[in-house]
């Protein structure tokens, strides 16, 4: 046991591994759990968007085998071995699947409410499995995994974080929870409204209210780790293409045939970083906007996401005494 406490003056720095936006990808989540040992960190912090975005119906054929559509191509699956490989591909991509008969498939067609229900069932099941896997992988270590949702996750699915018995996994959503002897993790998983009308979007005043409420529990804001899914507005951590939300799916806004870029972050998050001057800001949401920015003394990061390729993009931050000593972006 170290003589000095973790994260305090004169002690060893606390090393955090942060990642987000894995959207149901099984190998990426497994890498996230393995990051604790691999990168020799003290805590795993996840920044939201656990749920996958697509559900692939695998429909039984009358003559045996299955049919499914993936990435614009129809796949004929002829054997159980092929089915196994196909499911592995779906797992990597972060998609859900359900085997069904043609009649059952037809009963879902055009019924978005039923499809959403099926998404929730399968996603919640996967999240419960993930919590159990985290408990198993982190058992016997001092590492905790701080999990929360993002704007793409539904409340129904996130309820799995509360329902499954936990020791190593911390349900961090909208809470301030201790990280080490000195610092607390403050988590807010909402985002500002998006053209995609995702399940957990809030206006800036609503996000500000949630932050205010959670920060009321924090005695020293300078020792807070902000785990806010939504990045600060116009910070370079939130740059993405402007989309036309009047069509579905939303399409890029073009001016002179060129895409228009803008900051899709949250003003409430910017103001919180500027006002509270926490130890660090950890953000996600905009996958293509990997980078760092500074708000007074506070550095803020977005490691980006490449979950679809099975790549875990992340960030290691070493903190001590309310300050970031060093950081390292990872791509493993």
């Amino acid at each position: 046991m170290p003589f000095w406490k973790k994260g305090t003056t004169g002690g060893e720095p606390t090393r955090i591994f942060y990642a987000c936006d894995i959207h149901g990808s099984e190998p990426t989540y497994r890498k996230f759990l393995n990051a604790a040992k691999f990168y020799e960190v003290d805590a795993l912090v996840f920044g939201g968007d656990l749920m996958g975005k697509l559900l692939i119906p695998i429909v039984r054929d009358a003559g045996g085998g299955y049919r499914a559509r993936l990435q614009g191509k129809e796949h004929r699956i002829r054997s159980e071995e092929e089915l196994k490989r196909f499911k592995q591909t779906l797992q990597t991509l972060g998609f859900y699947w359900q085997e069904m008969d043609p009649d059952e498939y037809r009963s879902y067609e055009g019924n978005q409410a039923r499809i959403d229900e099926l998404f929730d069932v399968l996603a919640k099941q996967r999240l419960a499995e993930w919590v159990a896997l985290a408990e198993e992988r982190l058992a016997g270590t001092s590492v905790r995994a701080y999990l929360c949702g993002g704007n793409d996750d539904t409340d129904v699915v996130l309820s799995a974080l509360e329902e499954v018995p936990q020791d190593r996994v911390v349900s961090a959503e909208n809470r301030a929870v201790p990280l080490d002897d000195e610092h607390v993790v403050v988590t807010v998983g909402y985002s500002t409204p998006t053209p995609w009308e995702t399940p957990r979007e809030r206006t800036d005043p609503e996000i500000a209210e949630v932050i205010e409420k959670v920060m009321a529990e924090v005695p020293d804001p300078s020792r807070a780790i902000f785990n806010f899914h939504c990045p600060p507005l116009d910070s370079s951590l939130d740059t993405c293409m402007k989309l036309d939300a009047s069509v579905w799916p939303p399409t890029p806004v073009l001016v002179n045939k060129q895409p228009v870029y803008y900051g899709a972050g949250s003003q409430a998050v910017t103001e919180a970083l500027e006002r509270f001057q926490p130890t660090v800001g950890l953000h996600g949401h905009i996958h293509e906007s990997r980078g760092m920015a500074r708000f007074g003394r506070t550095p803020a990061y977005n490691p980006g996401s490449e979950y679809g390729e099975g790549v875990l993009r992340g960030l290691i931050v070493a903190i001590r005494d309310g300050e970031v000593l060093g950081h390292q972006f990872t791509s493993g």
Partner: protein, 545 residues
Amino acid sequence: MAEAVAPQVFTRRASGLVRVMSPYSAFIYNILTMGVIFPWTYIWAPTAFQGSSLVLGIVFAFVFELPIALAYVWLATALPRSGGDYVFQSRVFGGGFGFTVVFAFFVVWILQWVALSGWLLASLGIAPTFLGLGATTDIGFFTDIGTWAASANGIIIISVANALIALVLLVTGFRNYVRFQYVMWYAILLSFGVVLLLFLTTNPTEAQASLNTFAGNVDGVSNFYGTAVAGAKDLGVSFAPPFWLWGTLLVAPIAWTSLQWATYSVEQGGEIKNAHVFRNQAFIMVGSLVATAGLLILLALAMQKGIGQEGILVASSGYYLGNGAATIGGGYMFPNLIAMGLTASPIIVAIIGVGFILNSFQIVCNCYIGTTRIMVAQGLDGLLPDWFARVNARFKTPVNAHIAYFLAALPVIWGFNKVASWTRWTLGVTFANGAVMVISALAAALLPYRAKKLYEASPGAKYRLGGGIPTVTVIGLLGFLLGGFMVAAFIFVPELGLAYSSDALPWAIVLGTAAFGLIVYFVMRSVRASKGVKVSYAFAEIPPE
């Protein structure tokens, strides 16, 4: 059980990820980067390797580059990220190696291209355009501008202005560049087409008469062509040499100095729309290679028709052998200058000139775009200070990296134009740039073994040869060997690079840049370690189990 259905995918309301520069824009970018309009081959190869075939040499360069470009397709789809070559090499060979090679041989050595692009703009764009306008309109002011643009001070001022304008264009938004690229593309195509047409609609006898008139108007000389031929003969040029196959093979590395840039779009891979799609990358890199090689061959054939082999050798003697009689207005007889001499129309001269001016400007833009993306990737990996990786919140561009590169280019611009020995000191540029691409081809070959999970998740993983050997391994190795031949030629063949001088200094400079890269790597590694992080984590692939 009911009848079979063709199932669709079920979706829900979730955020989507949309990417940036279109594959077509990236395709154009590569063609312009190859500098279709600045083919050194025509003024370098004919007298460097007398008896060689220009057309066949370009074909060899295309064949040698093809497996390299294909290997890059695998790399770019497996790792569609900005920082291209650095990302590929660091993930396959490790951070120290990848950083040192790409930082030293690309980021540092491409500074030479910033200076060179200014020189191209002044010497091949502005100077000949104004000299041509002066000659065709008989207005002395134009001739004076042209003469000033070809002087050392003129070139320095034009080069700095060129770099500064590109800096402003690029830092104020990448989309500004992408938009302007279309203007450059169509203007350059028009210019190139006009040059072709001028060569195709004349013959050597008429061309000689036209060049005599043109040079007479610009320099006040008489019988320009006859004097240039005599000068070339004095310098040992044989106008009817027998065909030389080995010499033709050695033309390939020269043509490769253009064609090797077919893969340069990988440096901004993270900004290309659907960059992970195999056919997109094949179109962007292999497609641009095919198109540019085709255009270069077409130009060689057109020159052959318009000024004949003798004319090509005379033009080449002005550059490679220093035949002062074979220059016009102090400028080398690049195809554009010759084409200007073939017309009496100031409008045609202006069209040709604008194309060359814009392509010169594109070259400096691509120097910035590629190297700043590499610096941002290296900064994010912790191998350069964070300052380099910072993206400006207002402009959404890596402003700091751009400014740093502009400042670093200033002394190189000065040295390039003011220091007499500069060209001799920097003979390693052909080797250094080529080495990066060849090492990336090797990285592609080793990708399935050194970054297994990453490779298996990539779209190219499905392509295998007999015995289960990954196709990329064979293609990458082929590219490494063929590219290795050309890189070795830059080292050992006196006409091509480092061996041109017996001086040890050019070698020391190449090794010095590599040592500089290695020192930066070790310093940054120590700095990061003192702050509780290991840079090696940036390159490591985490096992899922």
